[in-house]
Symmetry: C2
Subunit: 467 residues, 2 copies
């Protein structure tokens, strides 16, 4: 952008909220994935009208616009890969209303997801989507990426709870989609199209979220296995038993050991894998299901089932699960988080394939995640200064994607495509499927100014992790 | 269409499945809404490749294509308003597979929804969406219209259970969206865009549906009120109590009387309204919630609560609810079914407004439906040969839509827009919102051949019920 263009932005926005110094722009150049990209200017946005005006101008001047929450993205969602304007939406956080009668929350994009959880729970309600980053990430980012989380197994993901949006289109128009009713079939479902479109179709400036009554009771069990494949079998068995746990999380030996080294939690470091299972609902139902789940795990060879009694002991187990990500980066500095997802029946097969890929490429591949819905998180830890190793990582990642798709699964269950998975889109969607997505993008954003460089691969684009 | 064009269709399709005689075409000229429109040719389609070939040809020759299930649409969804080709998809019904491990059903579009219910229940599973027409309607029609039903209150609507589709695009390409995983964020959510697009964006030739474990127990209560408004208050009260019934259906006095005259069911004909409430889940939870629901109804003035013990007595109550539609057409021959939907907190206000509109226009307005999610079904019964009365109906319908939108609601909760509600689209969506929908249609169907004349209003189009 030239200085005249930057001046136009300064004229739209009150002073103190436009940043052009390199050290400020640097803070907006990265996310939780790979690479750094400097924007030309950063705006901390405060009002819908202001955002609309910036986008209108950017559209006529053909300047890229990158909306951004707290940038916990694992797929490069907010990276300003073509420079231009970064809109810091995290400061637009003034609205957080819970309406107990309509069973909805109305929220600004910059509100932290954990604050929505707390506000709903205060009224006996629940906002189910619970990405692991919820204490840091904004609801705006969750909406853009359609974030999941452990409770996705029983309750679904972000999209399943969004019933209305206020959105700035790529040409700067303000539109409202859906509303405050749970049923709405008036025209195309723009709400569910925009949620998960990774900021490429519109900038969300307000959302109406559906809430549900908070379950009366919840309990956790930890099942310990000698073999990862047996843990996979237990998960399949529970799911076809008529029980739907609220969470069912897998940790393999590498992730157990990593957590125990990072912060001792009395985890079984000699186990091949452990599964954490949470059941919620009416107290009598939870007790009955807990007994059945324990029996099922034993049937497929669990060597031990631990059922912590106190809420704090339960919370400790879930904390251990949350520590996997910070713990494994202690092993090596570069973490490549994947979330290739397979149909539930293929969980044991996918576990097997991941073991093979780990051996074939001689990598630190750690497997954990939301196994109950087939949404494993194979994470590779490596050192990006070791180019030879990073090339093995590139090959292993491609092979993980191929395996997931061969099993009837998908590239991404919840992290999004961003820049890292764009080269693999056609492999999953086919040429015609990808083309139908491109048509929507082109018809909404003819100048390609909203989050350009994301989702859609450039011709011949390949995954490159070596810089 | 000229005879050459019809010959092209005959060459694509095996003989015996192409119909051009007027008496055959007449059978395909209407649905459960208004008006008759003769297609030029009808094809009973059997294979995906055949449909793709027909659509490819129709696109190049710019001939309208109208896919059709069992035509129970209440909004004109399948009506061939511009002639052309009707595709009878109800005969494409060869696939109905239940996969207990993946917890999915894979179905052809012509399969009856009730057959999916039965097949899932045989394996201890449930496909929750339950439109009242489920014994007659095809899943293809349910998908096109995003059908709801009583269980929408707790379990959501058709869209919430579709995770993958095979679709013929308006240019005749075969694409696959989503898949067999419950989490999938690979690109735009074409699955949820196509479901509910009323056959204007693609022809669904296969669907993958998510199933859930069948609840262990369910019970029904019937709460009887002297005043409709009190029934509305009871519904609001239950919903904000932390209980989420599986169904909560309202019948006003006019619908109670109509059913009792049609088929005596021991309904309280002197009551102002009754509410049928179904609770499901673990047996202990159901019992506890049933007691609480009874207390809440009494608090807002219910004069009686009936709780049938036997499953057959419970089924009788639900049968009475299903008889409302056939019963009310005995009063007068022409039924105008609306499904304007309001936020839950506005249910009592909307009941009040409907009483006022009924008096103002001196019409037989009957109120019943899925009150628990704000999806009331105000039905007007009239006689279409009485032009003066029909003009009052037109005015009353417009006023119902205005009221719903003024209360923060929507034109349609589950019946779709079709042709009847198209004139009111801009009132709800605004110019820019409607424009973004049109852009998608134009980018996918540049020749406007798929179900033309639906959803989007022609310039100056008004609701006309007088022929």
């Amino acid at each position: 952008m030239n200085s005249e263009q930057i001046q136009v932005i300064k004229n739209i926005v009150a002073s103190g909220r436009v940043f052009t110094d390199e050290q400020d722009r640097y803070s907006y150049s990265f996310d939780a994935s790979f690479g750094t990209y400097l924007p030309d200017v950063v705006v901390q946005t405060k009002s819908v009208q202001e955002v609309a005006e910036i986008v209108k101008y950017a559209n006529t001047a053909k300047i890229p616009v990158y909306p951004r929450g707290q940038s916990t993205s694992l797929s490069g969602g907010p990276l300003p890969v073509q420079g231009g304007i970064v809109l810091d939406m995290s400061v637009m956080n003034d609205v957080l209303e819970i309406d107990e009668e309509d069973l909805v929350a109305v929220v600004s994009p910059g509100v932290l997801t954990a604050d929505i959880h707390k506000a709903a729970e205060k009224k006996g309600l629940m906002y189910p989507p619970d990405p692991s980053s919820s204490h840091v990430s904004t609801i705006g980012g969750n909406l853009a990426e359609n974030s999941g989380g452990p409770r996705g197994l029983k309750y679904g993901v972000t999209k399943d709870y969004v019933i209305g949006l206020e959105v700035i289109t790529p040409e700067g128009e303000i539109i409202r989609t859906g509303g405050r009713t749970v049923k709405n079939v008036t025209g195309y479902d723009l709400t569910k199209l925009i949620v998960g479109s990774e900021g490429t179709l519109g900038i969300i400036t307000k959302a109406i979220l559906r809430l549900i009554p908070k379950p009366a009771s919840s309990k956790t069990a930890m099942a310990i296995f000698n073999e990862l494949v047996d843990a996979g079998a237990a998960i399949s068995k529970i799911l076809s038993s008529g029980i739907l746990p609220s969470k069912m999380e897998l940790m393999d030996q590498a992730s157990i050991v990593a957590v125990e080294n990072y912060e001792p939690c009395s985890l079984p470091v000699d186990a091949g894998a452990m599964v954490l299972i949470e059941l919620d609902g009416h107290p009598a139902a939870v007790e009955a299901e807990l007994a059945k789940v324990s029996d099922l795990c034993k049937e497929v060879g669990a060597r031990e089932i631990r059922i912590p009694e106190s809420p704090s002991a339960q919370a400790d187990l879930w904390k251990a699960r949350k520590l996997v990500s910070p713990a494994i980066v202690r092993i090596k500095p570069t973490k490549i988080s994947e979330d290739a997802t397979v149909p539930r029946s293929k969980i044991p097969d996918m576990c097997q394939r991941l073991e093979e890929i780990k051996k074939k490429y001689d990598l630190h591949l750690v497997v954990f995640g939301h196994a109950g819905d087939g949404n494993l998180h194979p994470n590779i830890v490596a050192d990006k200064s070791d180019k030879e190793e990073m090339r093995r990582v590139e090959q292993a990642v491609a092979e993980i994607f191929e395996a997931a798709i061969a099993f009837g699964g998908t590239l991404s269950g919840e992290h999004g495509i961003g820049i890292m998975k764009a080269p693999f889109m056609e492999m999953e969607l086919g040429k015609a499927g990808l083309d139908m997505m491109k048509r929507i993008k082109q018809s909404w954003d003819p100048n390609n100014i909203l989050n350009p460089g994301k989702i859609f691969p450039a011709p011949g684009q390949k995954l490159v992790l070596t810089e």
